[in-house]
Structure formats: structure tokens, C-alpha cells
């Protein structure tokens, strides 16, 4: 629909109407994002290994949160079983490493393989609606873990140390791990951004706003959802691979292992707190998560309990999350994926009017 408007802007009747991606100029925020990436890239030259390790954890959660946001916020797929792909990613770094392939290249294998594993699993759960889809993905994660634990050559139920990195100096290894985590996170967020600006993004927006209307207009809902499920699995797999490198071992199991539902809890809570259905939300949510986790780290799992309480409160009383509140107040978008229709002569006066954009629903 927005595409027709864009075409219409060229005809005589709408000569004074413009359609852009954002109300504001996106060049400053784009430059800001680039500067931020450069600063983050240079971080290992300035800070010690300790903070870098914390940053790696944060970047893993950021990647996971971006993927969960894509699933739940844009495709309406509330998966509680993303730990399946996270764990599979860790194992797909471990298995090649045991055959002499460097774990850094293993990350690429993990991304592709986790995405490939999502295809048969999608076929199993594709029919199920929201709530049952959620528990079914949880069951699938449990099944994946039980199957992996049966294979004794990759550690069975106890886990296996990751070979192939023992020759590196600890400080250098930490720096490399950090860069790998940063690359995965940047690619994940960039991938989500490009995906949402593409035709698939328009499809997903149509589904999110009104699934029945989208379906009856010929939108291929199932296909778009499958694409998102596979992409999110690949992203979670890459994050799991980073965890394997960071911990230098892969431990299965539901408590503390790679298949723990805690991973899905962290990504979901970060998304809800930050603001579901926006690209900026997971970033903000991850920051909140990291602050809570670091300040409460001596109190065991209390950070997760508090995070859960905050997430429930936000889900009930401020559904758009922290970033949604920012958008409502200041109308800022760092990653514009929608369109804005400018009324004639609107450009000069928007600062005083502070009106919500006409095409808010499409963003």
C-alpha cells in the first residue's frame, strides 16, 4: 500500500506529497552507528580481558534478542525453544573443531547448519497456533537435547572441551572472541534491518497488522514465517558458536548448559523490556539486562527473577517497552523500516507540531 503511495507521489495530483523512510534525516544516526561500531571494534586495544568477557556475554544476548524480536515482534512466532538452535550452534562449532577445522570458521558452519536444522523442525510446528507453537518449540528443544546427549562421541550428557584454540595467548584469544561476537551481533542486527526493509519486511508488517487481511490479499504468510524461523535459527546458532568459543567447552543439559531455557528467557525479557517490534528495542533491553546482571551477579539468579518481574510489568502496562516510550515522546528512529508520508509543506513545521506520523502503523 505504501508502495502505491510512493508511485502516486510522481503523478500531478500529489506533486507536493513526499514519501520517505523517516521523518528525520537518517545520515546523522547512520554516521553515529558507524562511529559506534568503530569504537566497539577498537575496544580490545584499550580495555582489559575482564570487561571484554562481559561484553562478549552482552553481545551474545544482543544477537539472541534481535533474533527473538524478529520471531515474536515481526512474524508473531513466540518461540520458547530457541535454546535448541543456540545449543546446536555450539555443537556445530565443536564437531568441526574435533576434526581439525578452526572454530573461527566453525562459526560459519554453525550459522548455516543451525539454519538447516530449522527446516525439518519448522515442518513439525508450522501448523500450530501461538500458544501451542510456544510449548511445541520447547518440546523440540528438549528432544534435540535428549538426542545430542545420546551421542557419546561428542561428550554425551557431560559435555566436551573445545579443541583447536589452546595455542593462543589468553589475551589475544579474548580479543578474537570479542571481535567474533561483535561481528555476529552487527551482522545479526544489520541482517534484521535489511530483511525488514526488503519485500519480506513489508510482508511481515502486513501479517503483524492483520494476518487475515494479509492472507486474503495473497500474501504468502507461511513462507514468510518459515523464512524468519530459519533466519532466527541461524542467528541463534551463530551466538551459540560464540558461546562455545568463549567458554572453550560445550556442556548440554537444561540447568546451566547450552540447552537451558534460561537463554530464551534472557532474550525474551530483553526484547520485552527494550520494546518488541522495533530494532532498537533489543539493543536497549540488552543494556538493561547487562546492567542488572552485573550489579546483581553475587546474588545468584536474582537478576533473572527481577528481569522477569520487570518484563511482566512492561508487558502489562507499557506494551511498547522502553524504546516505544522514547519513540512516542521524541519520534526518533535509528533504524527506519517503515515509511513516512509528508503532508504538503509539513517539513518546515514538524518541530512545533510533534504529531505522530500518518503512517505510524506501517513502521
Amino acid at each position: 500500500m505504501t508502495g502505491q503511495l510512493a508511485a502516486g507521489s510522481r503523478s500531478a495530483d500529489f506533486s507536493d506529497v513526499r514519501v520517505t523512510r523517516s521523518r528525520r534525516n537518517t545520515v546523522p544516526s547512520g554516521i553515529g552507528a558507524l562511529v559506534l561500531i568503530v569504537v566497539l571494534f577498537a575496544l580490545p586495544f584499550y580495555v582489559k580481558s575482564g570487561p571484554l568477557g562481559i561484553m562478549v556475554q552482552g553481545l551474545i544476548v544482543l544477537t539472541l534478542a534481535s533474533m527473538w524480536n524478529l520471531l515474536a515482534g515481526y512474524a508473531g512466532l513466540v518461540s520458547v525453544g530457541q535454546q535448541a538452535f543456540f545449543g546446536l550452534g555450539a555443537y556445530f562449532v565443536l564437531i568441526p573443531a574435533m576434526h581439525g577445522i578452526t572454530p573461527w570458521f566453525g562459526l560459519v558452519i554453525a550459522t548455516i547448519a543451525a539454519g538447516a536444522c530449522a527446516v525439518p523442525l519448522w515442518w513439525l510446528v508450522a501448523r500450530l497456533r501461538l500458544g501451542y507453537f510456544a510449548i511445541a518449540t520447547w518440546v523440540l528443544a528438549s528432544v534435540v537435547m535428549l538426542v545430542i546427549e545420546q551421542i557419546s562421541s561428542i561428550g554425551g550428557g557431560t559435555g566436551e572441551p573445545l579443541p583447536g584454540l589452546s595455542g593462543m595467548q589468553p589475551a589475544v584469544l579474548t580479543a578474537y572472541t570479542y571481535w567474533a561476537a561483535l561481528a555476529v551481533a552487527v551482522l545479526a542486527i544489520g541482517g534484521v534491518y535489511l530483511l525488514l526493509r526488503s519485500k519480506i519486511g513489508l510482508t511481515l508488517t502486513a501479517i503483524r497488522d492483520d494476518e487475515r487481511a494479509a492472507r486474503s490479499s495473497g500474501v504468502r504468510v507461511g513462507l514468510a514465517r518459515m523464512g524468519v524461523f530459519i533466519a532466527a535459527a541461524a542467528g541463534c546458532g551463530a551466538a551459540g558458536g560464540v558461546l562455545a568459543i568463549e567458554q572453550l567447552q560445550v556442556v548440554p543439559g537444561t540447568s546451566g548448559g547450552v540447552f537451558s531455557v534460561q537463554w530464551t528467557a534472557e532474550m525474551a525479557f530483553a526484547v520485552i523490556i527494550g520494546g518488541i517490534g522495533t530494532i532498537e528495542g533489543p539493543i536497549l533491553g540488552t543494556i538493561v539486562y547487562m546492567v542488572l546482571q552485573q550489579t546483581l551477579q553475587s546474588y545468584n539468579a536474582w537478576y533473572l527473577i527481577i528481569l522477569g518481574v520487570v518484563a511482566i510489568t512492561i508487558a502489562l502496562f507499557a506494551r511498547r517497552g522502553l524504546w516505544g516510550t522514547v519513540v512516542d515522546r521524541f519520534n526518533i528512529r535509528l533504524f527506519p523500516v517503515g515509511y513516512h508520508l509528508w503532508a504538503s509543506g509539513e517539513g518546515q513545521r514538524w518541530r512545533r507540531r510533534r504529531r505522530r506520523p500518518a503512517t505510524q502503523a506501517a513502521s
Binding site: 511445541a136 518440546v139 528438549s142 535428549l146 537444561t254 525474551a268 539468579a301 511482566i312
Partner: protein
Amino acid sequence: MEWVNAIIQGLLTGGLYALFACGLSLMFGVMKVVNLAHGDLAVVAGYLGVGVIAVTHMPVLWTIPVVVVLMAVIGYILQRSIIQGAISRGELTTLIVTFGLSIIIENGLQQFFTANSRGLGVGDSFITASFSIGSQIIIPWLNLGIFVLAVIVLLGLNQYLSVTKYGRLIRAVADDREAAQLSGADYRHVFGIAAAIAFGTVAIAGICEGMITTISPTIGTDTILLFAFASVVIGGLGSLWGTLLGGIVLGVAQAIGAQINPSWEPLAGYAVFLLVLVIRPQGLTSRGAQA
């Protein structure tokens, strides 16, 4: 004979799984709520049982009615406050709220009661007593008792929903809440009652689990919720008879799997679940929604 024994044991365990499942089934049937905290609430009930025994020193069987009443009250309050709030904001919010509750309960229990597992009524003579048929089939009285209890609960609930006046009201609200509201029924109160019933069955399930094996904070999701869901899907959505059948099929499948290789017990159950999901997604009993 070993196989017959395994199948009988699985059948009896299936009764427990049906108990796990009936609260989940009821809440979905009436409120369209998929309660992801379902299993953790059963664990809470188990710990409540431990607490009641520690304070009053009453025999474990007497704790069942006490904990059922406690959980029913908790269920009504939780439904009228948080869950009702989530329902009115949409399905996504409901899932997030119940998932959040699940994580909070599980981690909270670990903080207060450690990750150690506890048993209920250890030392009571009927917990360990059993009788045997022939030389190989040994049936513990407890397992048989839980199976009978499960059948009574599911049968009673089915009768309650189909025959009594209030049961009809619950079904009316489940079918069309606006129409029921127009006819003078306060659907929020009916939802609360349905949640109280569901939590009551969850309480029975939690205490039975504590008597038959042990309870620990992590079993809420790892076993109870997932087995309950598998039972519901195998049996067919919305039918309490189907749920009983689904629980039994799951229990028997696990027992057969364990007989082949002890580490295949949960996998064999899930294999049947996945098979049903692919071949017969409407479940083994494909009757229309009842509860």
C-alpha cells in the same frame, strides 16, 4: 512378562501425566490461555505440601485437600489479577506473562529451597507397599491409587462440565464470552472459577509427583509442563477423555522405551508425540471441543 510389567507400569504413570495435563487442557479450553507456568505451579503445590507437613505433621494424604484449597485460592486470585490483565491485552502478552511467571517461580524456588530434590511422605507405609500378580508383575499401591485418582478427577471434571449448572455456564463462557456476558454471566468470575479448578488439579498432580518420585525446582518445565503438553496433543485438544488417553499413551511409550534402553525413556514418549503431530495433528480422539 517383563514387557507386560513395563506396559502396566507405563499405564499407571500415564494416569499421573493425565493429571498434569487436565489443568492445562481446561485453561486452554475455557480461557484460550496456554499457561507456560503450569508445571512450575505443580511444583509450588508440592512444596506447599512439604510446608504443610512440616508445620502440622499431618499425614501426607490429608495434605491433598489442604493444598488443593490453597492452590484454588491462588488460582482464582492470579486469574482475576495478572492473567485477566494479560488476556485483555492479547495472546502475545498472555504468553509472555505466563513464561515470565514460569521463570520467576523456578528460579525463586531454587533461591529459597535450593536445587535439591525432596520427597513427600517418605516413610509412610503405603508409599512403599505393593502387591504382585504372578511372579514378575509388581504393582505399587501408590501408583494404582494415583491412577484411580486421576480417572476420578478427569471423570468428575467431565461430568461437572457437562451436567451441572455451573459447568454449563463455564462452557457457555468458553464458547462465546460476549454472549454469556450479555445473558448476565460475569465472565471474569467464571474464568476465575475455571482457573481455581485447574489449579486444584495442578495441586493434586504436584503432590502425587512428590509422593511417587521427588520434586525439585527444575522438574516444573523439564517434565511436568512438557509431558502435560505431549499428553494433550496426543489425546486431542479440548477433550478430557482424550487427555486421559494421551497421558496413558505417553506413559506406555516411555515405559516401552525404558525397557529397550533406560536412557530412551523420555525420547520414546516424545517420538510418539512427534508422530501424532505429523500424522494426526488433531489428536487420537478427534472430537470437537468439549471443555
